[in-house]
């Protein structure tokens, strides 16, 4: 009993330390838009500025170019949704098949997937651009969406999950019951793998939402930009980071912080939603039932 209490106290101390480590920067970020640029420097770093300053900050950002930031936001949303949907449709059956079927080429596919995943991106800039350009898609949303559908991480996670947590006996039993292979995938594997699928969907959404380099090289039109590239262009022109703002644009550090909150909010909402499902299915239980 006493041992249990100490370990639980130890756990709580660990959690408090963890939260302090990871949350300090975030608390600062949450408070930053309530301060002016100068207040960021001379107020206590974790002090609250004022609501009126927050209003000014929000207005400076949201009114820039008649609210073009909402266009960027909307672009990010739909590029992400389309890209992630295709990525999942491609990855889930693939990961399952690689784990649960034996066929020639299985190892080759896994190994090639690995190699393409760890190729440093600097070598891929030109080839991807040339491909998209060859089919006339540069500076269209598809130049960002299509390359984003390649999601090897998702394939590997599904593969590992299927191999580790789904016994072959479940699948064999379904086959003996006369289920089709597609039916087994959809009605047996997918429900069992829900935590893994939710997880890779979440990481895919984050990856696509935060994707910078692909839209950066592919898109030039202002109205096609994503939140990430649009903000970067804005920030780099106003020297809001590590330089002077030599322009008339009212974008400074607080506005950047506000933009950051705007861009991480959807991710956090998705995370909170996904969190419920991250620890769910128990393959063993399903086998019994």
């Amino acid at each position: 009993m006493r041992a249990g209490m100490t370990s639980s106290a130890g756990r709580n101390i660990l959690f408090i330390a963890t939260i302090a480590f990871f949350a300090t920067p975030i608390v600062w970020l949450l408070l930053a838009p309530t301060k002016s640029t100068n207040q960021l420097s001379y107020l206590n770093p974790l002090a609250f500025g004022s609501l009126s300053q927050l209003g000014t900050t929000a207005n400076n950002l949201l009114s820039y170019q008649n609210g073009i930031i909402w266009a960027w936001f909307f672009n990010s949303v739909w590029y992400t949704l389309v890209s992630v949907s295709i990525a999942l449709v491609a990855s889930i059956p693939a990961g399952y098949a690689l784990a649960k079927f034996r066929f020639r080429g299985n190892t080759v596919i896994l190994f090639v997937t690995l190699l393409t995943m760890i190729v440093p991106a600097a070598a891929l800039i030109l080839p991807l651009y040339l491909e998209m350009s060859a089919v006339g898609m540069v500076n269209t949303p598809w130049s960002v969406i299509l390359p984003g559908t390649f999601y090897p991480f998702g394939v590997y996670m599904i593969y590992l999950f299927a191999k580790n947590a789904i016994p072959d006996s479940i699948i064999e039993a379904a086959r003996l019951d006369g289920a089709s292979e597609f039916g087994i995938l959809m009605r047996i594997f997918v429900p069992l793998a829900r935590p893994a699928i939710i997880m890779i969907a979440f990481f895919a959404i984050v990856g696509s939402w935060n994707s910078f380099f692909l839209p950066f090289i592919m898109l030039t039109s202002a109205n096609l930009q994503t939140l990430q590239t649009g903000l970067q262009a804005l920030v780099s022109a106003t020297g809001a980071l590590g330089g002077g703002n030599l322009s008339n644009i009212a974008i400074h550090a607080p506005e950047v912080a506000f933009a950051t909150l705007l861009s991480i909010l959807p991710i956090l909402l998705v995370f909170l939603f996904a969190q419920k499902y991250l620890a769910a299915g128990q393959a063993a239980g399903a086998e019994k039932g």
Binding site: N38, Y42, Y129, I217, S236, G244, L246, I249
Partner: protein, 438 residues
Amino acid sequence: MRTSKAAIAIAIGAFLAVGTVGCAASSGGTPASDPKAPITVWVDAARLPQAQAYAKAHPDVTIKIDVISGAQNANTQKISLAKKAGTPLPDVVFLGSPDEIANLTANPLNFPLALNTVVPKKVIDSFPQGVLARCSYGGQVYCLGNDVGQTVLFYNKPLFDQWGYAVPKTFAEFEQLGAKLAAEHPGYNLGTVNGRYGVDAFFESSGCPILDTTSDTAVKINVSSSKCTRVGDVIGPMIKNGSLSTLDLFDKTYDQQVAQGKVVAMVGASWIGDFAFKPMTTNAGTSFDSTGKYAVAPMPTWSGESTNWSGSVGGGIWVVSRTTKNSKAAVAFAQDMTTSPTIAKAQTTYPAYGPSADIWLNAKATDPWYAADPSSVLKAAASKINPAEGYTRYVTQMLDSFNNTVIKNGATDMSSALTQWGQQTADAAKSAGYTVSK
């Protein structure tokens, strides 16, 4: 192997394209001066309103405006990719990091149009020589200056008066002032020498051959020249006694020193008053209000020179593509962006074009932030930018190396720090495809 895979890739891509996008960008074979051809201009976010205003005022030309990141080499990268892919290039580009032009003029891009052939000589001659010299190769001028960051000496006039300091006329006096300041008022400083602020304000004004381009593929680097060592002799002791800071001008820690009024003087670009000192010190809450405190004095003179040369920190440029299909409209656009009186009035920093600068200075002359009218000093400095330096493809590496050698070790052993800096910069220049000579 490669070709078959690539063929598959393209075939599949084409298949996907059918259902998704109707048609690819068409490429017509129109001549270079087709007055009906639309032009595409690439600007940064700050230049967007003036470009939009121009497009509105010129409905006869179709102008497509794209906003490109002002990050170093963002334009180069996009142009380079488009060139490789054979897709249309922009007609006019604004470069907020003007060194990018060294990439654009070189292989494999060969992008800019020589402007001295299409812009009237009178207009070209109204830019300070030091500005256009930087983007000129083989007698051809490849850019029009947007603004210029000529360096001058900012000083806190009331403090100078109070402490009985004389404004230094030479860099020897500047160094003596530093020694005096360090002894009498430790914690105060005479500016910063980090990165481009140090290189441009000190080494460039001295004419130290470190970015001395003789063509777009040849450069002179010689840090053992007296034009470099005399700079080391001044800044070395000053870094050591703390009268020169080694922090970046916009480092948060240095900001606080500015905000506390610890910066007594600074050799800096024409814009540091309006865009560094002013915003850091005039809002409520700071202990030091700089309004009416800082005045500008002419650059100190380097020993052995008869002219008090300036350096230049920053300053954007406009470039026109040699592949433009409507060169008339493209050149007219670039020219208007640099010479329009309306734009000059709205310009935030010192305009490069002479007549525009005069308009701009009229407003600046009565700015109550300055302790005295800065206009004549700024104007004189713009015409004295040392033409020894050019735009290069290795400037980032040169600055990295500068901070790693001169800034880091200059206080203890300036001469070997300089040697190292020169060596690393020469390596960087060679790696960027330059022939290096002394």
